[in-house]
């Protein structure tokens, strides 16, 4: 039932697609980055960190927008002992 509701209400409009694409492209334009660069950045950051501590779960490296400013948001869960 919930799945059914989700499906009929899911926003697949071209307006939503335009917004999603703009969000990515403007972030990259403003910061001079690309999806490819973000992947490389993530790999290298994880490599450095895992040299010292053990990482667990799903680490995230992404750019977040606050108004016209952007910041690198790094979330790396660490394994407890």
């Amino acid at each position: 039932m919930l799945d059914f509701l989700k499906r009929i209400f899911a926003d697949s409009s071209s307006r939503k697609q335009a917004n999603d694409r703009l969000r990515v492209v403007l972030t990259h334009d403003r910061t001079g980055t690309s999806s490819r660069l973000m992947e490389t950045l993530k790999e290298e950051i994880l490599e450095v960190i895992s040299r010292h501590v053990e990482i667990e779960g799903r680490p995230e490296v992404k750019i977040i927008r606050e108004g016209r400013h952007s910041a690198l948001d790094i979330n790396i869960p660490l394994k407890g002992r």
Binding site: K6, R21, L26
Partner: protein, 273 residues
Amino acid sequence: MGKKTEESSVIVVTSGKGGVGKTTTVANVASALARKGYKIAVMDLDIGLKKLDLILGLENRVIYDIIQVIEGECTLKQALVKDKRFPELYMLPAAQTRNKDDIKPEQVQEICRQLRPEFDFIFIDCPAGIEQGFRNAIAAADKAIVVTNPEVSAVRDADRIIGMLESAQFQDIQLVINRLQASMVKSGDMLSIDDLLEHLCITLLGIVPEDKKVLISTNKGEPIVLNERSEAGLAFNNIANRLLGQQVDFPSFEEDSLWGKIRNLGRNLFSKE
């Protein structure tokens, strides 16, 4: 008649992307203000591809152009074309047979310095692009109006232009959204005003709907603000009033149908990021 305000404003109208409505905006907002009795100069800096004279219907009155002023072939006063409908509106034509690199930012600044004591508002019609023509157009301006359309490529270019204006230390940058089609926004096929404001994060100055009467008035060389029954004309008039500091409400284009409301509620509840 003399000017009304003590401080004059020099406003550049720019966009990055071509064809979004810069010249239409300059012609109409300037005409609306001139009709209210403000002394207005419009400067066409689209050297080599001039259009402002045509949109204002003044093409047959042009004698000199801005390059001839700069090169000393005529005075600034001689080059200013007086509008036929509004005695307070003057246009400084672009040169058609030269290009953007034939003028420098300092020369535009000098012309504006001479215009300021005579005019309340000086509007600069900026060419598309981010090169020399853009740099010339912003050099003398204290405010910027960025025109965009609710369409991904126009928004991307607007964002680039806003970034460049911020780097050039502009404090006052306002957005005009042109060619909005409320019905398409409602059916989910056009970016909405809120969408554009979320992406671009600047103050909204005006919303101009798509309006067939714009083309008709361009054909005739008559500003659409003269047409009381046109929606676009009304929108340009509102922009003029806001530039004068008046509080003019924005029309609401919210989803008003019952299904629209239910759908929105559903989307908020069920849509995943």
